[in-house]
């Protein structure tokens, strides 16, 4: 399981930005497809922020009130944001691409399953409401991106099991 951190203050990145990648075996496959060696450090084209990796470094639920503001904490909170039709949270669906933290401000960079999906506003409101409940968090910004496009590969095993993945 790979947890990769950007240097704080790296060019173009707010302080404390972290990207968590997918499980190692899938990383290896993608790296091979990209023509890179197994040890090459390369962020995935999709699913940058994968909850299976986050589970390893997750915040103890009993410490959510006091834990320092980190992407892991934000990710843990976003598990509360459920797609109503699917009954699965946006993290396990692989919709959250990146989390940026600047002081107490949080930016959630995410996508939707398709460009024609009208739920952006709904999900944004849910995210803001959920994160606003954490005393560590100040302002919240939700940025919708379409590159890379969402892919079913982004879902965690838990989400697949929940939705009855058949192939």
């Amino acid at each position: 399981m790979v947890v990769s951190k950007h240097r704080p203050g790296a060019a173009g990145d707010p302080i404390g930005r972290v990207r968590l990648t997918r499980p190692a075996e899938r990383d290896e496959r993608v790296s091979q497809e990209a023509g890179e060696g197994h040890n090459g450090v390369r962020f995935l084209d999709t699913c940058h922020f994968h909850s299976q990796a986050v589970k390893i470094t997750s915040v103890d639920p009993t410490e959510l009130l006091t834990a320092p503001l980190t992407p892991e904490l934000v990710n843990e909170l976003l598990v509360e944001v459920i797609d109503p039709e699917l009954g699965v949270n946006i993290v396990d669906l692989g919709l959250v691409y990146d989390l940026k933290i600047d002081g107490t401000d949080v930016e959630v960079v995410m996508t939707l399953t398709t460009q024609g999906c009208p739920l952006g506003g709904f999900i944004e409101d849910e995210i803001i409401d959920t994160l606003a409940q954490a005393p560590q968090i100040g302002r919240v910004k939700v940025t919708l991106v379409w590159e890379p496009p969402w892919d079913p590969e982004c879902m965690t095993d838990a989400a697949r099991e929940e939705l009855g993945w058949v192939s």
Binding site: G116, G121, L163
Partner: protein, 377 residues
């Protein structure tokens, strides 16, 4: 475009809905005022294009986030209401054709950004709307283009289900089976223009095949085991698929059967049983998305869903099949009551949520930095 400017468009669609419901009462033969106007005659276009066309194109405009996209719901609402109000000649249908063209351009734009089969299916739906409007412009009666109106709604909905099928990993032969069913419907719709009877029968095969696929593979089969709003949506979806199958059988068996009880059952199994069920299913998500309000789930949502299906069963079995006029009328009124109940329940849930949030905000202001419900549970 902000919520403030979306609300009038929702109101426009709602106005078309109320006009359509009134027209429905006229068509049921009830003694209500307005028999001399066009409301009864245009009940179908008011419900499908004036109400659903306005809301679907508004939903698309919200998703795409382009200001010009809002021209589609505006034209759809105004066009249908103008026609119902007796506006002369081509004004109403021309606006409806324009709305469909805008929707098509939106789908073309989405296609350019991200080419997908489900967007293509939805674009076919918009094309069916455009074809219906063109036939209307050419002077045809509603009955001539009603299969195309059905096609617009079914293709829009099934396109979305095709998209969601990706979340179950449904590829290969299973996905191709749904695409084949969609192609049958598309072929039937195209055939319905020169030969409505044969076209409706072929489209009926497509509807039946889609219903069978959805009942077997749709994600609702899994989510129905969930809780709360997730289960409610799945129940509404699955019950809608049942009526889609009924519609498919009726279209296949009866083809073009204008004016009779079979015609009533053919249309209302599809438009009420399937399409309105989809509206009820998605309202807990779409209403907040478009109007940026909270719509928390409440078990009483099942009331309007149950009323919709029970009243439709009464209409189709007691009225259309057994030929009992009184049961047919009661079933029809029950369907309208279900839609009104849906509106009341939805508005009440939004208002209750607002009051609760205002109370929470008040309580939070009176404390120091508040602790949350999230953490206190």
């Amino acid at each position: 475009m902000g919520v403030v400017r979306r609300a009038p468009l929702v109101a426009l669609g709602a106005t078309a809905l109320f006009a359509g419901l009134w027209g429905g009462l006229l068509r049921l033969g009830l003694s209500v005022p307005g028999a001399s106007g066009h409301l009864g005659e245009l009940h179908g276009p008011l419900m499908t294009l004036g109400f659903l066309g306005t809301l679907i194109s508004l939903e698309r405009a919200v998703a795409l986030g382009r200001s010009w996209g809002y021209a589609a719901p505006l034209a759809a609402g105004v066009g249908t209401l103008a026609a119902a109000a007796g506006a002369p000649g081509a004004f109403g249908p021309a606006l409806l054709a324009f709305a469909a063209a805008v929707l098509l351009v939106e789908h073309a734009l989405i296609d350019r950004l991200q080419r997908t089969a489900h967007n293509g299916v939805m674009a076919l739906g918009a094309l069916a709307w455009l074809a219906a409007a063109v036939l209307w412009l050419a002077g045809d009666d509603t009955v001539r283009f009603v299969p195309l109106l059905a096609g617009f709604l079914v293709l829009t909905i099934v396109g979305e289900r095709l998209e969601l099928s990706r979340l179950r990993g449904l590829g290969g032969a299973r996905r191709e089976a749904l695409l084949a069913a969609i192609a049958l419907l598309g072929g039937g719709l195209a055939l319905s223009v020169p030969s409505e009877d044969a076209g409706m029968r072929l489209a009926g095969v497509g509807l039946l095949a889609q219903a069978a696929w959805l009942v077997r593979y749709d994600i609702a089969r899994r989510t129905v085991h969930g809780r709360g709003v997730t289960r409610f949506m799945a129940v509404a979806l699955l019950s809608g698929y049942f009526w889609l199958g009924v519609a498919g059988v009726l279209w296949l068996l009866h083809g073009l059967s204008t004016g009779g009880f079979a015609y009533d059952a053919q249309l209302h199994a599809l438009f009420l049983g399937f399409v309105m069920s989809m509206v009820f299913a998605h309202a807990p998500v779409i209403v907040p998305a478009v109007l940026r309000v909270r719509l928390p789930f409440h078990p009483r949502f099942y009331a309007h869903l149950a009323l919709l299906h029970l009243s439709l069963a009464l209409r189709v079995i007691g009225g259309d099949w057994a030929g009992n006029l009184r049961l047919w009328q009661w079933g029809g009124v029950g369907g309208e009551a279900a839609i009104l109940l849906f509106l009341v329940v939805t508005a009440t849930a939004v208002a209750r949520s607002r009051r609760r949030r205002a109370a929470v905000a008040q309580a939070t202001r009176s404390r120091t930095r508040g602790k949350s419900t999230l953490f206190s549970s």
